[in-house]
Amino acid sequence: MSIPSGPLAALKAAAESFVADYHARKTTLPGDSRIRAEAAALVAAQGLPGPREEAWRYTALRPFAEAQFQPARRAEPSAALLARLPAIAGTRLVFVDGRFHSELSGVPRGYRVTTGGPAFGTIARPADEKLVALNTMLAEDGAAIHVPANTDAGTVILASLGTGQSVGFHPRHHIVLEAGATLTLIDLAIGDGEYLNNPVLTFEIAEGATVTHLRLQDEGAGAFHLSTVYAEVGRAGTYDSFALTLGARLARMEVHARLAGEKAAAHLNAAQLLGDTPFGGGQHADFTTVVRHDAPNTASRQTVKNVLTGRSRGVFQGKIEVARIAQKTDGYQMNQALLLSPHAEMDSKPQLEIYADDVKCSHGATVGALDADQLFYLRTRGVPEAEARAILVRAFLSEALDPIAHEEARAAMEAAISAWWERRT
């Protein structure tokens, strides 16, 4: 018998440890035990995503596999951590180490929120996405948000606070908007130290309904943030999202948007601002999207910006699938990276799979440094170099940030970017 070593063995061992945790606790885990058992069988059979899979070519989970995570217990956030929650008007749903914290949360009006167990929904695909299988196997809590037809649910702040106890949590949220409903979901993942946050969010967006999903990932420096979002958008519905990645040692945001009804639209904008970690080496963040156009006259827009310092590495994988029926599809994808260090790296993989013949799809990618002429121009006007660089970085991000119509959320994003910039310089 040989002693296991190397990345594959580490991934296998980590998967086995998660499965063992499931078996030890399965009788006490809440929610549908059959869904959970099926997911456990998948994890046991397939393990965790490995370097030989096309979708995981640029993101190695080895550092995650080598870390050890305990099951999360009820925890209280520090005052400092709570203070990092931006002041945004709306109903707060606060999860601490993955568990709903009712004292820190508000009461919704005009729509329904259920917590206390995982909100599995029906559109996630544990058989296709291994981290979703892991989430399904171990999910303990989450919010089920149900917005009735033609109801404006206003702003809901879904906040995840990680207290950094080397715990792992797998929140499972499900959001349903009936026809004509609207919701702005401010999705915050904030924390200190080392932990695993592996959330899955599913959105069912019915005819004419609109979800604005604004995400700020500012997890602890030693944290792993692995999230998967599914959005199913009906006729003339909109899933409008922006995701800002600042934190975590290793992060992957995966978004699957399916435009299922005619004139459905999805915006998947993102910004990743990365630098060195306190552990040597740089942060790694991966923004992976799959947009499936499954009906005629559907539109998708993706503007993804990366600002990379130190030894950080950014990944963008964007896939646009256009079904045969989806004529007059309008798909646009742009990925741009600003490399502020010779040691930073950007990997960009656009993929178009088009089976309809009357579509408009475009994609582009650029990688570059700050423009020396622009820097000089600002400095001749008296702007000190550091400030000039900050202005140009903010300008680079503007195409992704400026479309955020929610003023308080945009201000919170701007403030988080400024704080990030201060830390880096």
């Binding site: 001749t380 006007r381 008296g382 140009l392 903010r394």
Partner: protein, 249 residues
Amino acid sequence: MLEIKGLKAGIDGKMILNGIDLVIPQGEIHAIMGPNGSGKSTLAYALSGREGYDDIEGTATFAGHDLLAMEPEERAAVGVFLAFQYPVELPGVNNANFLRTALNAQRRARGEAELDAVQFLKLARTEAKRLAMPDDMLKRNVNVGFSGGEKKRNEVLQMAVLRPKLAILDETDSGLDIDALKIVADGVNALRGPDFSALVITHYQRLLDHIVPDRVHILAAGRIVKSGGPELAHALEARGYASMVPEAA
């Protein structure tokens, strides 16, 4: 007073400026004329601190400051302003915010109080109006989508708001029609006074009909080969550079 002594500069091993000697007394406007490639823009860039020049020799002092030892923003704070021949576009940077950031950075460096948004906008709107610029130019991104003439006017607007003590205008007349030229010239003339000096770099005498210089210098092959009064520009226009520039230069 600007005093340049024996200024040399090269790029990629090729010398562009071969020993410039020039004095602009306080309150005077001097013009530099010269054929393409004579070093006019390099002189402007060297005085404002652009990187990338090597073999810099000589000195350039302004109001007692050793310009060549200072960062571009430090030069700006002591009153040096460069109006670019090709103003740079800054997508994603609002023109008014840009100008306010610049003005306040300079004021901060000089130990003066910063202007708040209201004070600043009042100032910027007044100056924009004087330059016949539509108000929306302040709201747009810096130079993005501006016509050639609008870009040049935007340079003069910045100058009017920043109130430099030494303005270097690098072919500000290029690409301007006669009406825009007059507006730009009026903007420069409005700043004329005992505390304002300017170095007006131009290819043509036309601009100097509107900004009448105290002295005119002719630059060729990185040296000043002839200096004179405003009449020198007219002589140059009539007879061409060939008559003024020694073959050996």
